[in-house]
């Protein structure tokens, strides 16, 4: 019986649900509090919450395994894309998105393009992408709990799912924000504690890395992948900060533009410390002390058990759960808001009261969460492909109409609609029906979406003068 691990995990779960019940008092009758935490979140809280939303199970377990197998250069090129994407979002969209006082990404399309087809397609793309992402995260949580707690996979997935569905559904954005701060601090601390211990044991950063690359040269070299694979890995995540709803919604929660921009940049600094020092220490030490590891994703957990006291191992379980939950809760709220705010309120019941909307939000969180749980019981084999495809699909369809919609006066509704269609179809076609190198599909789909947007916008009716005037105000 792994008493310490169980006790610490239980305490962590109780803390998350407790925060959910506390937050419920604030959000029970206000859509603003439920979806965007009343737009009262400050820089410190939002920085940690953003970092936690970005850093999923992949940023604690997967990244170490990826570096162990594919080498440090490839891993850093993928994660640097995510890191550089936040300053990009800070420069391109943060000011305007925050000042528009939106609830969802679809709200931006509604304001800028006023087109019913777009208003229906965008939330559908968001629900599909976020749903796929949630299933991948649930599977990661289940595998971790099986490894660390020794409980059956289906039990582990169910417990994890029920915990975050409960606190998201009852506590909305307030619960997510506060739990994300707790989860962010927990996961960063665990990775950095292990990294420091490893650096100390091996005589510092460069001696450890040099020793590892001497033992296994592939760890440090640029592999024989095409340069397009490196560029594709970078670009997919570079664009995510501007369009992925679970990240963009954090911009909506901030108390002002300065807070939004500062927190986008501070969150990446925290993330950089965790990823860079974590990868350098853990993947390097792995090649020295565990050169023939069968399942690279367990590297972090194996080294924790070798180098840190057992009580810390208990915190490691909670830290991995935290990494998974902090992303999944934000994904769940993004998907729930797409159904409730973008489809139910705008298409089905426009006169719904705030209390009704909050209740529908709670109900849709349960439906999406339980559906994802059903898929997670028997996850598709190509889950990693689907999850990466989900982020690539968001970039290929939404990046061009969002960014040009903010910065280009001649952007039109028809341009946006056809750009979304061409970007989405070309991306899916290239992904499923061609043999292009992994992660390179966006490099073809994005330019196609861009050209379509510009050409169609130039030959179709301009946006209303009212929209252009509001845009002018936003840029003053």
């Amino acid at each position: 019986m792994k008493t310490i691990e169980f006790t610490l995990t239980l305490l962590y779960i109780i803390a998350c649900i407790g925060i959910g019940f506390w937050a419920n008092k604030k959000v029970s009758s206000s859509t603003s509090d439920y979806w965007v935490a009343g737009r009262q979140i400050g820089t410190f809280t939002n920085s940690w919450a953003l970092m936690a939303a970005l850093a999923s199970g992949g940023s604690v377990l997967g990244v170490m395994g990826l570096a162990y197998v594919q080498g440090i250069p490839y891993t850093f090129s993928m994660y640097a894309g995510a890191a550089a994407g936040f300053p990009l979002a800070s420069a391109l969209i943060a000011r305007q998105m925050r000042d528009l006082e939106l609830y969802t990404v679809t709200d931006f399309f509604r304001f800028r393009y006023k087109n019913k087809a777009i208003e229906l397609i965008v939330p559908l793309i968001i629900v599909i992408s976020m749903g796929t992402y949630i299933i991948a995260q649930m599977k990661a949580a289940g595998v971790t709990a099986v490894y660390l707690l020794g409980i059956p996979y289906n039990v582990a997935v169910s417990i994890t799912a029920l915990v975050f569905i409960i606190y998201v559904s009852i506590g909305g954005m307030w619960a997510i924000t506060l739990t994300d701060v707790l989860q962010g601090i927990l996961m960063v601390s665990m990775v950095l504690v292990l990294a420091v211990v490893l650096f100390f044991n091996f005589g510092g950063i460069t001696p450890l890395v040099a020793q590892a690359t001497a033992a296994h040269a592939d760890l440090g070299v640029v592999k024989a992948l095409s340069p397009a694979s490196y560029v594709g890995a970078f670009v997919v995540w570079f664009l995510a900060g501007c369009v992925s709803p679970h990240l963009v919604m954090r911009v909506f929660t901030t108390r002002d533009v300065k807070t939004a921009k500062l927190s986008l940049n501070y969150s990446v600094l925290i993330y950089a410390f965790m990823i860079v020092f974590g990868v350098l220490a853990i993947s390097s030490a792995g090649h020295i002390v565990l050169p023939n590891l069968k399942d690279p994703d367990t590297l972090f957990l194996e080294l924790i058990s070798m180098y840190l006291p057992r009580v810390i191992g208990g915190f490691a379980v909670a830290a991995v759960m935290a990494a998974v939950m902090s992303t999944t809760d934000a994904l769940l709220l993004a998907a729930s808001s797409a159904i409730t705010h973008d489809i139910y309120v705008k298409f089905i019941n426009p006169n719904a009261s705030e209390k009704t909307v909050v209740k529908v939000g709670l109900f849709s969180s349960w439906i999406i969460g339980l559906l994802a749980l059903l898929f997670a019981f028997n996850p598709p084999k190509l889950l990693t492909m689907l999850y990466t495809a989900a982020i690539g699909l968001l970039g290929s369809t939404l990046f061009v109409p969002v960014v040009l919609g903010i910065w280009w006066k001649k952007a039109t509704p028809q341009g946006a609609l056809w750009s979304i269609i061409v970007g989405g179809i070309s991306y899916c076609y290239l992904l499923w029906f061609t043999k292009m190198a992994a992660l390179t599909h966006i490099l073809a789909a994005l330019p196609l979406a861009f050209v379509t947007f510009v050409v169609v916008s130039l030959v179709t009716k301009q946006s209303d003068q009212e929209v252009i005037s509001r845009l002018e105000q936003l840029h003053q």
Binding site: G71, I72, P73, F76, S77, Y79, A80, A83, A84, F86, P87, L88, S90, A91, L92, R95, T206, V209, A210, A212, T213, A214, A217, L219, G220, V221, V222, P227, Y230, V231, F234, K258, K261, L262, L264, N265, Y266, V268, L269, Y271, A272, I275, V276, V279, L280, I406, W407, W408, K409, K410, L471, E472, H475, Q476
Partner: protein
């Protein structure tokens, strides 16, 4: 900040952030062609690792630049 052009004018700080991100990205990907290493890790790998710190620092410094620029504009408007 709007004008008669079809693109809205970007605040200088945001524009400099974009330029820094773009330049750093190009330089880093050009280094893919070199086989030089440091402590056994390709220069490309180190540059990408450094990028994770450099990108937000570009963003923060350029934000400060914008604030300074706005203060200067206010001061010069008052003195006029």
């Amino acid at each position: 900040m709007s004008n008669n052009k079809s693109l809205y004018t970007m605040p200088k700080g945001d524009l400099y952030t974009l330029i820094c991100l773009l330049l750093y990205t190009i330089i880093t990907f050009v280094s893919l062609s070199t086989k030089a290493t440091f402590s056994g890790v390709a220069v490309f790998g180190w540059l990408m690792g450094l990028f994770m710190f450099a990108a937000p620092i570009f963003g923060l410094v350029c934000m400060k630049f914008d604030e300074y620029d706005q203060q200067q504009n206010k001061t010069s408007n008052i003195s006029k």
